[in-house]
């Protein structure tokens, strides 16, 4: 688990405190009953704050799982910055 994945896991655990750390990577709005609209908005706000980025409105629909958000972060210009990326 790299640094981005670790930090994203911590974001999930802050918003879904009852979630087992080992189950975070499989979390999605489909599998997690606690992931309602309020939790979804809160999660994205925590992720934006943690990574210092602003997620675009058009992308939000795809950000409904741990994998989806992780992929978004890895492709974010804030992280790739024209450099080698992760």
């Amino acid at each position: 688990m790299d640094d981005v994945e670790q930090r994203l896991t911590d974001c999930f655990l802050a918003v879904f405190p009852d979630l087992d750390r080992n189950a975070v990577s499989a979390a999605s709005s489909q599998t997690l009953p606690a992931w309602d609209s309020v939790a979804g908005v809160t999660l994205l706000a925590v992720v934006e704050e943690e990574f210092g980025i602003a997620m675009e409105g058009d992308d939000l629909a795809a950000l409904n799982s741990f994998d989806g958000i992780l992929s978004y972060l890895r492709q974010s210009p804030a992280f790739t910055g024209g450099g080698p990326g992760f």
Binding site: D10, C11, A14, V15, P17, V38, V41, T42, A45, V46, E49, E50, A54, G57, L60
Partner: protein, 576 residues
């Protein structure tokens, strides 16, 4: 505070086993993350309780405030924003912005503000409310560029300022100072348009965090400092009295010493609010008396008491002042320009707050005074604040008279008059203030929120006794409060406090006698708890009970020892 930290704090706080503190956020927007920040902030203030924060309906600010009134809340938080005055001022609206529309917005805003004001007035009768006036920038609906204020913007701001001015006069309603929020949260970093459209939450996280922290300050139970002891040379004035002479010390523009006048004026303002002001100076007492008698002094010298001028250690002077004031060192600030003097006093009185006066640095003096304002700040000045110094002077006269009278002074000698008032005045904040700040003569140290106090007094068979006192030395105002329940022939006293200014006047005996006369109980139960500082109450109970009190102590009426000669003080009783 970051949102992730707030969420973690909230999670940890939910494990607490204490009672719940119920808070309502009444807003026209979705308060989303503001609730998390608020819960986290309040969890630090109310460290033993679980904080429950709930909200209302989107777009219905006035209705949500009205629901606060009917709900079982301890605190209400009301962040007002422009769309609450008229939805056309919000980003989510599609209404047109024409000249006629703007005029109509002003009309609507006035009408809505009136309803908001009425709802706030009603809700604040039973609970403490913290209110913020619009914190976000106005939308660019009017014709003026951003650097020019037009009649539309000024008209809207006048409406909300009028609202704030009106509701701030209620003791239970606290309006956030926009200047404070400006320092904590820059205007350009407040609005999050994306979040407003997506989730109905218009704040950036940093602004929500700053607003929650400010709300916390508004409801935090603080203990404002009660007394300020000041040095004279290079502090109250510029110069050394012993070297420069009575007319050589200065506090004016001509001698570039105006900062000292600013300090003097501030001390005068504090004194007017009931803060005790004294002098501790290593100086010639005769010269000090002359200098304090100068008619250009910017603080009334009669407001300064006592004046300790001598050549001994400052700590000795401070000790005598504390004795005269009869308050603890932790309630006092000592201001001196000399770090050695500050250290000497601090070594003897570790609890005292020592502040170094920065002579010759006007900006630093202004900062120091702003800091002092916060340490002494309170929501309102009460009648008892205005007579505090008078009553301390009279206490000293009383002590001197007693020491001169061989057999002690009786209430008749003093011309003592006690008024025992059994009414439950909702608007009088003094009884609760006394309950929440008294330490020494306090039955159990319990503090109440406005909502808890209202619930206690509205319970069936509850009673409230507020005792006021005056004698030939002057009035002390409302000095004692007892509250409890009289069920059948059993009287339970939940709260009993008396100001330390009222000690040695036998008021506590009269209060007890009055309760017995009014309710004729067969048994009296005391909701007693031992605290670090309630020795005077414990000593009194031990005397009238004939034994050391234990928690929840009950006494059969016949076993209460109230000396007849003491309870004979002339008094008036008001029945509510």
């Amino acid at each position: 505070m970051k949102l992730v930290d707030a969420l973690r704090t909230v999670k940890a706080m939910q494990q607490r086993e204490g009672s719940a503190l119920r808070c309502g956020v009444a807003s026209g927007f979705n308060p989303l993350h503001l609730k998390a920040f608020l819960a986290a902030e309040l969890s630090e203030v109310f460290a033993a309780q679980r904080i429950e924060v709930s909200d209302g309906l989107y777009g219905d600010l006035a209705g949500n405030i009205e629901r606060l009134e009917s709900g079982d809340f301890d605190y209400g938080f009301v962040p007002i924003e422009w769309p609450d005055l008229d939805p056309r001022l919000g980003l989510r609206s599609t209404a047109r912005w024409s000249g006629n529309e703007l005029a109509d917005i002003l009309v609507t805003a006035k009408a809505r503000t009136l309803r908001i004001q009425e709802a706030l007035d009603r809700a604040s009768r039973n609970l403490t409310l913290a209110v913020s006036l619009p914190t976000l920038p106005l939308p660019p609906a009017a014709c003026t560029p951003r650097w020019q204020a037009g009649s539309f913007q000024l008209g809207l701001r006048a409406i909300v300022q009028s609202l704030g001015c009106s509701v701030s006069q209620s003791g239970r309603l606290r309006v956030l100072n926009s200047e404070w929020l400006d320092l904590e949260s820059p205007l350009r970093d407040r609005h999050d348009p994306e979040s407003e459209l997506l989730a109905g939450f218009p704040y950036r996280l940093s602004h929500a965090a700053a607003l929650a922290a400010s709300f916390r300050r508004l409801v935090e139970r603080r203990s404002p400092k009660k007394g300020l002891i000041t040095d004279l040379d290079e502090t109250l004035w510029k110069g050394i009295l012993g070297e420069d002479g009575v007319h050589g010390v200065s506090w004016d523009l001509e001698h570039r010493s105006q900062a000292h006048a600013f300090y003097q004026r501030f001390l005068g303002a504090l004194a007017g609010e009931g803060v005790l002001i004294a002098v501790a100076s290593r100086n010639d007492p005769a010269l000090v008396q002359q200098a304090l008698g100068r008619d250009d002094l910017a603080v009334d010298p009669d407001r300064i008491f006592p004046v300790e001028a001598n050549w001994k250690d400052k700590s000795g002077s401070v000790e005598r002042i504390l004795q005269v004031w009869n308050i603890g060192a932790d309630a006092v600030v000592f201001v001196d320009d000399n770090p050695r003097e500050l250290a000497e006093v601090k070594a003897v009185f570790p609890a005292i707050e020592c502040v170094q006066f920065p002579p010759g640095d006007t900006a630093a003096v202004c900062d120091m005074i702003l800091d002092l304002r916060d340490r002494f700040g309170k929501s309102a000045v009460m009648e008892e604040d205005a007579i505090r110094l008078t009553s301390i002077r009279s206490s000293n006269l009383l002590a001197e008279s007693k020491s001169m009278a061989a057999g002690g002074l009786t209430p008749e000698d003093l011309g003592a008059e006690i008024v025992c008032d059994f009414s439950k005045p909702g608007a009088d904040a003094r009884p609760l203030e006394l309950v929440n700040k008294t330490n020494q003569f306090n039955l159990n140290g319990r503090r109440y929120t406005d909502a808890e106090w209202s619930r206690l007094l509205s319970a069936p068979d509850s009673f409230l006794l507020t005792a006021s006192y005056r004698d030939k030395f002057g009035p002390l105002g409302k000095v004692a409060v007892l509250a409890g329940v009289a069920e059948g022939r059993r009287l339970t006293i939940h709260t009993w406090v008396m100001s330390c200014r009222a000690f040695a006047r036998h008021i506590e005996y009269r209060c007890m006698a009055e309760l017995l006369a009014r309710f004729d109980p067969a048994e009296v139960a005391f909701d007693y708890a031992n605290t670090e500082r309630n020795g005077p109450l414990r000593d009194f109970l031990t005397e009238i009970l004939g034994e050391f009190p234990s928690p929840g102590y009950s006494a059969v009426r016949g076993n209460l020892r109230l000396p007849a000669e003491i309870v004979a003080t002339p008094q008036e009783t008001v029945y509510g």
